[in-house]
Symmetry: C2
DNA sequence: CTGAAAGCGCTTACAG
DNA sequence: CTGAAAGCGCTTACAG
C-alpha cells in the first residue's frame, strides 16, 4: 500500500551571487609579480632544480597570496599524462559495483590518480563507445572494465584489446580477451563449497537461479553447484531482486519440486525468499536458500542468508593496482591476472530438508 | 558461523602482449598525409568553416584509416573547459550515494560531460582538499557536493563558496552556505507524515534512532517526528546497519519503554529490527519500526519496511542539471534551489501497538 | 642559481 | 575554399 503524502515541490530562489569566478592566475603572472621568469616559478613548484631561498620564499608567498594553482590541462599537455583512470561498470548504483568502485578509488588515490566513472548501462554500445573514446583521446590513461553480459567479438573492446591498451578486467573475464589482465573471484570453488554444504544437509532436489546466461561467472557458479546437484534445474535471471522473485514464481507454477534454491547473487536470493514466503513456504524449514556475494544486509535479515563472500573492495583495489603499476611501468607486459579466494558463510537460511 | 572453504589465491601469468600502445597520431600527421594544413583538418572536424567536399573526404578517410582521435588535453587547453564535473560523496559504495551518482552521471552524459568521483570518506579533510583542488586546477568545471556531517565554517568549502564557484549541494544543505544552490528532499514533511502515521496507529511511546547529530536532514527529520511524539527519546547513529542495532541494544539495556522505533534511514531500521528480533520482540506485533529512504530491499524483506521514499536518482539528476546549466550560462546567478517531494510508503513493519 | 625559447596538440583570428 | 602563425599555460633541454 502506498499512501501519497501531501508533500510538494518547493523551489527556493537563491540570492544572486557575485558573478562568475574570476579568471584564475597564471604562472606568467606570478613570475611577473615576483620579478622572475616562469622557469624559476615552475622549478620552485616542482623542486626539480635549486632555487635561491630568497626567491623561493618570495614566489611561494605570492602563490599563497594569489591562491595560484597550476592549470592541470597545461601540465597534462606537456607530460601526456592526464592523471586519470576510468572505471566502466554496468551501473554504479548497484551495491556490488559500488564496492568495486570504492576499492578502485582508494587505490587511485594512493597512486595520486583521479577516477572517472563510466556507467555502461549493461553494455549499451553507444555509451561504451564513449568511454573507450576517453581512452583514445587520452582523457584517461587506463581503463578498468567490468563486463555485465557476454560481450560480442565485434565490440569496441575487442579491437582495443588487440593493441595492448592499458585495460584491466575486473570481476568478470571476457571470452576472447584472454590476453587482457583480470582480477576475479574464485567462483567455481565458492559454488562448489556452497553445493557441498547444501548437499551435506541432506538436500536432493535443488534449483539454480543463475545470472546472465553467457557470463563466465554464471557458467562457473552453475558448474560448481552442479558438482553436488547434477540434476538441478537452471533458470536465468538478471541479478536483480525482482528476477529472483519471478524465477521462483515460475518454478512454483511449473510444479518443479525442490527443497533448496541456489541464487547466483544475494539480491536474487532475497527475491526468492520473498516469493517462497508468500507461497507459505518457510525458509529454512521447508526450503533452504543460498546466495552469492555476501551483501551488507545478508547477515542482518531474518533468517540470515547463507552465501559466499566475495571481497569486491579487494577486486577493485587489485584491479586498480594492476592498472596503475603497468602505467608506471609503461607497459602491460607480464601483468599477472589474479583470482581471489572466496569464503562460505553459513547462516540461518540453510537447514536440513523437511523430514517428509 | 563462518566455514573457511579451502580456496586459495591463484595467480595466472598473462601472455606478454605487444609492447605499450604506440604513440597516437596527431592532427599534424593527418594534415601531412592529406597534403593540407592542420587548419583544414581542424575545420573538417569541427565544421566551423566550409571545406571542399574532395578534401574533406580525403581527410575523413585518412582519419578513419589511422584511427585518429583529437587529444582532449590540447582541446581543453585552448577552450579552458575540461568537459568534466566532479561529484563528492562520503562513500560511493553506499546504496544511497550510488543512486545520486547514477542520476548525476545520467545527466552529465546528456550534457556530454564526464564525471569524476570523489569519495570524501565522511569528510576526511585531506581528501576534501584534494577534490576542491580539482576545481581549482580546472580539472573539473564544477562540483556537486554531498555533505555527510556537519561542516565547520573553517573548511575549504566555506572559502570556496564565497567566490561563487560552480558548486551545487546535493541531498544536504550546509549551514553557512545558504547562497550555494542545493537539491534536497522535503525531509520535514516526510518525517511529519511518518510520525502521524505511527501516532494514528495508536502508539504513544517512541524512540528515534537519528543520523549524525549536526546534519540538517537529521534535525529536520527529528523535528518532523516530534510533532507527533514530543517526548520521543532521541539517540544518534551513523546511518549504518550496525548503529541501528547498537542504539536499540542500548535503549533496551537502559530499560527505555517504547512500542515504535523511528530510524532515520532504512539501514538503521534493518539493524534495529534485527536487535528487536534477537530480543524476542516481534515486528510489528510488539514493536513497530520505520525507516527513511526506501532502499531497494525495503519492500522485499519480511516484514516489509514502512518508510519514506526519497528519489535519490532525481536528486542526482537535478543537481547535475543545475550545475551544468549554470556552467552553460557562465554564471551561478539566479540558480534556483530545489526541494523534492517525498512519499510515505506503508508496509508491514508498522501496526497498532500491543493491547496491553 | 637563473632566463630565453621551444614545444606539447590543438583552435582560431587574420590574411589571402 | 585554404594556410601561416599566434597562443592556450605549462615544462624542460639549452645556455649562461
Amino acid at each position: 500500500m502506498i499512501t501519497d503524502c501531501k508533500t510538494f515541490c518547493v523551489v527556493r530562489y537563491s540570492e544572486p551571487v557575485d558573478d562568475a569566478a574570476p579568471k584564475p592566475w597564471t604562472m606568467q603572472q606570478i613570475a611577473a609579480a615576483a620579478g622572475v621568469s616562469v622557469t624559476t616559478v615552475s622549478h620552485t613548484l616542482s623542486g626539480k632544480r635549486p632555487v635561491s631561498t630568497q626567491t623561493a620564499l618570495r614566489i611561494r608567498s605570492l602563490i599563497d597570496q594569489f591562491g595560484y594553482v597550476p592549470d592541470a590541462g597545461a601540465r597534462r599537455l606537456k607530460s601526456g599524462r592526464s592523471g586519470m583512470i576510468g572505471l566502466a561498470v554496468p551501473d554504479i548504483s548497484h551495491w556490488y559495483f559500488g564496492r568495486i568502485a570504492r576499492g578502485v578509488e582508494e587505490m587511485a588515490n594512493e597512486y595520486d590518480y583521479g577516477l572517472i566513472i563510466c556507467s555502461t548501462s549493461n553494455s549499451d554500445p553507444r555509451r561504451e563507445k564513449r568511454y573507450f573514446n576517453l581512452l583514445r583521446t587520452r582523457s584517461i590513461e587506463g581503463l578498468i572494465y567490468t563486463a555485465s553480459r557476454e560481450i560480442g567479438p565485434t565490440d569496441e573492446l575487442m579491437s582495443i584489446s588487440a593493441s595492448a591498451s592499458p585495460i584491466v578486467l575486473a570481476d568478470e573475464v571476457v571470452s576472447g580477451l584472454e590476453r587482457v589482465p583480470s582480477v576475479t573471484s574464485l567462483n567455481s570453488a565458492g559454488a562448489r563449497e556452497l553445493g557441498r554444504h547444501v548437499r551435506e544437509l541432506g538436500h536432493r532436489r535443488a534449483v539454480i537461479v543463475a545470472g546472465f546466461e553467457g557470463l563466465r561467472s554464471t557458467i562457473e557458479r552453475v558448474a560448481g553447484i552442479r558438482e553436488s546437484f547434477p540434476d538441478a534445474v537452471v533458470v536465468y535471471g538478471d541479478f536483480e531482486v525482482q528476477s529472483g522473485y519471478d524465477r521462483v514464481d515460475e518454478l512454483l507454477a511449473r510444479g518443479v519440486e525442490f527443497t533448496a534454491v541456489f541464487a547466483c547473487n544475494d539480491y536474487m536470493a532475497v527475491g526468492a525468499m520473498r516469493r517462497l514466503h508468500e507461497a507459505g513456504l518457510r525458509v529454512p524449514d521447508d526450503v533452504s536458500v543460498v546466495g552469492f556475494d555476501d551483501i551488507d544486509i545478508a547477515g542482518v535479515i531474518t533468517p540470515g542468508l547463507t552465501t559466499v563472500r566475495q571481497d569486491m573492495l579487494e577486486i577493485g583495489r587489485r584491479s586498480a593496482r594492476l592498472l596503475l603499476e603497468s602505467l608506471a611501468a609503461g607497459t602491460m607486459r607480464g601483468i599477472e591476472s589474479v583470482t581471489l579466494p572466496v569464503e562460505l558463510v553459513v547462516r540461518g537460511s540453510t537447514a536440513p530438508p523437511p523430514a517428509s
